[in-house]
């Protein structure tokens, strides 16, 4: 990873944005926030036509469809210097691409090349672009949920906290068990809804106990799950993707909040 960093300094480099299918459908604000943050860091952002990274198929054991979707995404994105997305989960999937292909095959070489230049948004901003601070204001007390794939597959932990510390007006209150899964798990929440419900209930209890008025995280899947639960419970805690706050575009209603 460090070598590609040296080969291609971030400023002026072409970044292909993987908006992710959930952001594309549910919350374009997150993708525009990502674009702003990347452009502020001196990147040129492109948005190749995209559908899904193939993770649902991969995690369901459907290797053939996962492979086909991987090939589609590789072909669409590999021309850029970097692939960046506001999701640890989807970028984590891109990092898995090489294991879908036969060792030494041409596709595996391309998959490995793509995996090597794929980054979760905040890790890219901090670790590759060297961003130290953002120019944003947020009046609120936030707590941060560490989404599993970003945390454990990509090592996203310090980067969001570093950037949030530079947002004026923002106070970060850590919750207990910030690293415990919220129970979303892609198709898990559909296959085992009762277990998933218990997990998200526990997560919401931690969030409420933190005393924060806003929950932030880096993956829209987790955010939809947590917001859906908080709102069903009647909570007034606002739920946002961390990029919205960092980009200063938190004027849209929060996730699951009415007009």
């Amino acid at each position: 990873m460090t070598e590609s960093t040296k080969r291609a300094p971030a400023a002026g480099r072409r970044v292909a944005l993987l908006a992710t299918c959930l952001v594309d459908l549910f919350r374009p604000t997150v993708a525009f926030a990502a674009v702003k943050l990347l452009e502020d860091a001196g990147c040129h952002v492109e948005v190749p036509v995209q559908t899904c990274c193939g993770q649902p198929a991969f995690n369901s054991g459907d290797r053939a469809d996962a492979r086909a979707l991987a090939e589609q995404l590789i072909a669409a994105f590999e021309g850029c210097d970097y692939v960046v997305g506001p999701s640890g989960s989807c970028i984590g999937m891109l990092r898995h691409y090489p294991e879908l292909f036969e060792a030494g095959s041409a596709w595996q070489v391309r998959a490995a090349a793509l995996a090597d230049k794929s980054y979760e948004l905040l890790a890219f901003l901090v670790d590759v672009c060297g961003v130290e601070q953002v120019d944003a204001h947020y009046a609120g007390c936030v707590t941060y949920h560490d989404s599993c794939s970003g945390l454990r597959e990509l090592g996203v932990k310090a980067q969001p906290r570093k950037l949030l510390a530079s947002v004026s007006g923002l106070q970060l209150k850590e919750m207990e068990e910030a690293e415990i899964c919220c129970g979303f798990g892609g198709t898990f929440c559909i296959k085992y809804p009762e277990i998933s419900n218990r997990m998200v209930s526990d997560k919401c209890a931690s969030i409420v106990a933190s005393g924060a008025d806003t929950l932030l995280a880096g993956d829209l899947g987790c955010l939809l799950n947590i917001a859906g639960k908080l709102k069903r419970e009647g909570s007034t805690i606002r739920v946002r993707h961390v990029a919205e706050v960092l980009a200063g575009v938190a004027d849209e209603p929060a996730i699951g909040d009415g007009e």
């Binding site: 908006a19 299918c21 993708a31 036509v49 898990f188 929440c189 296959k191 639960k229 069903r232």
Partner: protein, 479 residues
């Protein structure tokens, strides 16, 4: 034991509504992870030891045939006997045979998950031999007619009141008529009753955490000392274990000992780590006369060289289940067989057949916390995913789910159609959300909306908005 893994969803629902179990699981979540973290923090070399543990186990598996043969030769050199069992049935027959030759009426048992795996207690009882579990947790659940719900804390699901009830009911026969309610008093009562059982038993059966090829020793790791009394006092000691437990030398065992207790209970080392070789020596004043080791395969040898080989590294510490949010929500019994949690969800399909355990590999969010604490770095999510691939190939994935998945894949491979449909979908869902921007009931996703609202989309897809922005920028550029 009876396999109920096919009923996993029902088991799980039952567990989620069991208030006593939920309290017990709260104790587990509040206890083990913090203790492990503290122990790990005290040993700067811990991460390096995990690497070493992984590499050492890989070396052993790659030379497993050799180390097993050397272990056998070493046991024989120390005057013990090794018995090879290809499956549970053969292991039961071997142990029953040894017990019958010893004229055994009662056998005491140290804690052994392999013994659970082969259903030993039921088999001995059916042949008129009384098995007595002596680990306090195992003893409690034996009285209650249950099986372990955790591999190192077998009675983690039982609360104090239930222990009181079980002892009150079963200890009357020993003249214990008072119902004890304090943990200390309950333990003392069990200590007294089991002490007599230790002294009377004809055969003692323990498991083995490690088998040392160099010396022919089996090793047990305990905190209570019950395993030691089990193997020390009766005339015959049988150690039942599985083939992947062999390690080359004492030094190699030391590496795993440093990993095991810290990962399990957060102790620096368990209270008793005991190395046993052969029967009592001619001049010894105590110890068993006979020493038998039963090496169980039960499908493990077929994992060597295959995609699930990494699972053979497991040292049964329980860190994966202690840190698993799914295990923490439902406990061990819901998994429906001997080994619960992430390690069980990989191992059970191997041992009972994936067609009987199809739910288990799916009962994970792939949060990866298990892998992050595994002392021998088993990539548990990857191994679970491998099982899902086998299920998909063999059409064990539920039909409706499979259809939905394939339809989604079909659509996502047609970007133009996909983008068109998602534009419509975004508008439709936005409309459904109304002014609250939330959807309270979703067709096809009832499992979601039973407990959660679905936040509505903002109304336009990002790609549509981006294309607009690009067109606008393009026109601006021309002007």
């Amino acid at each position: 034991m009876q396999l109920t893994s096919p009923d996993f969803p029902r088991n799980a629902a039952h567990a989620l509504h069991d208030a006593a179990l939920q309290r017990a699981l709260g104790n587990l979540k509040a206890g083990f992870p913090g203790k492990r973290a503290a122990a790990v923090a005290r040993l700067p070399e811990f991460e390096a030891l995990r690497d070493l543990g992984r590499d050492l186990k890989n070396h052993i598996i790659e030379h497993l045939d050799y180390y097993l043969e050397q272990f056998e030769a070493s046991v024989q050199r120390q005057g013990g006997q090794v018995h090879w069992a290809r499956d549970a049935e053969e292991a039961r027959a071997i142990i029953l045979g040894i017990c019958q030759r010893a004229g055994a009426k009662t056998v005491t048992k140290g804690k052994s998950m392999v013994s659970e795996e082969i259903g030993l207690n039921e088999h001995l009882a059916a042949h008129g031999i009384e098995p007595i579990e002596t680990d306090l947790g195992e003893y409690i659940i034996q009285l209650r007619g249950e099986h372990p719900s955790h591999i190192i804390a077998p009675a983690i699901h039982v609360n104090l009141d239930q222990v009181s009830d079980a002892f009150h009911q079963h200890h009357q026969q020993y003249g214990k008529h008072e119902r004890q309610t304090e943990p200390r008093a309950l333990m003392n009562e069990a200590r007294e009753i089991l002490r007599d059982k230790f002294l009377r038993a004809d055969v003692g059966i323990t498991g083995a955490n490690f088998c040392i090829a160099e010396t022919g020793q089996t090793v047990i790791v305990t905190n209570e000392g019950n395993g030691d009394l089990t193997q020390l006092l009766p005339r015959v000691h049988i150690a039942i274990t599985s083939i992947e437990k062999v390690v080359p030398t004492l030094e190699d065992a030391a590496t795993f000992i440093r990993l095991l207790a810290r990962s399990a209970t957060g102790q620096e080392i368990s209270v008793y780590t005991t190395f046993s070789a052969g029967g009592r020596r001619a001049e010894d004043l105590d110890g068993p006369e006979e020493f038998h080791v039963v090496l169980l395969d039960n499908g493990r040898s077929q994992m060597v060289g295959g995609e699930q080989q990494d699972m053979l590294r497991c040292i049964r510490c329980s860190a994966c289940m202690n840190h698993c949010p799914v295990y923490g929500a439902i406990g061990g019994h819901a998994y429906g067989w001997v080994y619960p949690g992430p390690m069980g969800s990989v191992l059970t399909p191997q041992l009972v057949g994936i067609e009987h355990a199809a739910h288990l590999p799916n009962a994970s969010t792939f949060c990866g916390r298990c892998e992050s604490v595994c002392p021998v770095r088993i990539p548990l999510p990857r191994l679970l995913r491998n099982w899902r691939a086998r299920e998909f190939e063999r059409h064990l994935t539920p039909q409706g789910y499979r259809f939905g998945l394939r339809a989604w894949a079909w659509l996502t491979r047609r970007p133009a159609l996909y983008c068109g449909l998602t534009r419509l979908g975004a508008r439709l869902l936005r409309w459904l959300g109304g002014r609250s921007r939330r959807i309270r009931s979703l067709p096809l996703a009832g499992g979601w909306s039973a407990w959660r609202d679905m936040p509505a989309p903002q109304g336009r897809t990002f790609q549509a908005l981006w294309a607009e922005r690009q067109r606008a920028a393009g026109m601006e550029g021309k002007r």
